[in-house]
């Protein structure tokens, strides 16, 4: 009986091997699990896999199982180095294993594997410091998104000079595609920056912080913003006119109108220089 060749149809074989590789647990638990035995019972699996001179059937399938998780642990670390640093090796490995149970890869594109990480953090049980990790994962995911979006033309100093004084108020300023704003409740950017610089990250603390992330010359940048600058930029990004954005920013600000109006010109100049915008639309 043991020598008998077991014929397993191609589709059933693939469903079995795929379930066996993705099962979270030991190799024996995997092959004896309901999900895997549903495709091929344990006793048949042992007949179906050939042992080698040096490895048992279980050890051979085990090689594929361990390579699967190690590969995806590494892949997700490319997009989420700060999450990995915060959790530490063992907890990060466990985090990825649990994540893949809920969100196994469904795309040929490994970038897509990252998309659900912030949502998983939001909803999965037993996540330490969930609110901070959610912010950190959202920031890291946005950086990898911005890395891949298309290049847009840049607003030049000449474009700005061509706008006459009377139309500024009604002008809309369109940001580049590789641009995003964040309002955080923690020192999220400082944490990420420390991980990037390979220095000891700061203690996580509650702190209102604001950040612009963007790409210039195919390189990613992050610029911390003041509360007032963030308010004005988020109105601009939302498609409000420059006049409305200034009025709203003044309303929300604790600074006086004069002080804020004085800052607006400097902010705007530096944002154009940083390459935040692609064009100005006038009515």
């Amino acid at each position: 009986m043991d020598k008998e060749n077991l014929q397993v149809g191609l589709e059933r074989f693939q469903r079995w091997m795929s379930a066996a590789i993705m099962y979270k647990g030991t190799d024996n638990q995997a092959l004896k699990s309901t999900e895997v035995e549903k495709e091929l019972p344990w006793a048949e699996a042992l007949k179906f896999i050939k042992p080698s001179k040096t490895l048992t059937q279980i050890e051979r399938i085990g090689l594929y199982r361990s390579m699967y998780i190690l590969r995806l642990v590494d892949v997700l670390k490319i997009d989420f180095p700060s999450i990995a640093a915060y959790l530490g090796d063992d907890d990060y490995y466990d985090f990825v294993e649990r994540y893949l149970q809920v969100y196994p890869s469904r795309s040929y594109n490994l970038n897509n594997l990252s998309y659900d990480v912030p949502d998983f953090i939001k909803t999965a049980p037993k996540i330490k410091n969930r609110a901070f990790l959610y912010e950190l994962a959202s920031l890291e995911l946005m950086l990898s998104h911005i890395f891949n979006v298309e290049e847009t033309p840049l607003l030049t100093k000449e474009d700005v000079a061509a706008i006459t004084a009377e139309v500024w108020e009604t002008a809309k300023i369109i940001p580049i595609k590789a641009f995003h704003l964040f309002a955080f409740k923690h020192n999220t950017n400082a944490y990420l920056e420390a991980v990037q610089n390979e220095v000891k990250p700061p203690k996580v603390k509650k702190q209102d912080t604001w950040l612009a992330v963007y790409r210039r010359n195919y390189k990613l940048w992050r610029l911390p913003l003041s509360y007032d600058a963030y308010n004005m930029l988020s109105d601009i990004v939302a498609g409000k006119t420059l006049g409305d954005a200034i009025v709203n920013a003044i309303e929300k600000s604790s600074e006086s109108q004069e002080v804020l109006q004085g800052q607006v010109f400097n902010w705007f100049q530096s944002w154009v220089k940083e390459g935040f915008f692609q064009k100005i639309e006038t009515p």
């Binding site: 014929q7 397993v8 469903r15 091997m17 179906f48 050939k50 490895l55 090689l63 911005i146 290049e151």
Partner: protein, 283 residues
Amino acid sequence: MSKNRWNFPDLGYGIGLRTVHYPTILEESPAIDWFEIISENYMDTKGRPIYILDKIAEKYPIVMHGVSMSIGSTDPLDIPYLKKLKELANRVKALWVSDHLCWSGVAGTNIHDLLPMPYNEESLKYTISRVKQVSEILERPLILENPSAYIEFTSSDITEWDFLVALTKESDCGLLLDVNNVYVSSFNHGFDPNEYIDAIPSDRVVQYHLAGHTNKGTHIIDTHSDYVIDQVWQLYERSCQHTGGRATLVEWDDEIPAFEVVHAEVLKAKAYRKQPEVAMVGV
């Protein structure tokens, strides 16, 4: 010198394009014959990867090598993926497009591994029909690479090399002969690699892969993390005696050394590539 069936050019000695080598390639324009890209790394991005690839493709011949076609999967073909693959091939004027004889997932999930097929009549017929469909969509012959494997199945009743002989003939596809993979699988499964090399039809071989691996004693893992070992060079030399030599490439994916080191490794191939020992007179 024998030719491959499609007269694909012998490009000489290339290496796999890897991000760590971008600065050297862009700043120094090294005198290397050609590059092979991992197709998926450039398919869903409009950012830096494709920007850099366009620059490199202006100066060097490019060959595309994919890891996600999953030709052997019983899931339907991913048509949007194939269309993007074709677009990229046209964009970079790829000399040919290759992937692996393997499957990567089933039932909509992706394991992101090059999983082995059982080799039998059912899988052969199935793979032949899939290769034909893909070649039609890509409007070019598909070139398939022999995988390295760590597991075998009792439902296999033909050898991998007999499977490849029949597959290439019946589906009219080409072969990317990975000599290191032949060695790795021969070690793991206990067959004679010379028999494999001698069985491969020369006119189907379009390209060679060479790489280093990790010998764990009981088995070998195809890590692409080291220099090519002597036994693999000898197999390469043996195959070149049949084919007269083809475009040859070294893959190095882990612990990647400097550009010059990888380039020097592939240039070693020149010494092993001699004219066929036996002239094919009157054949």
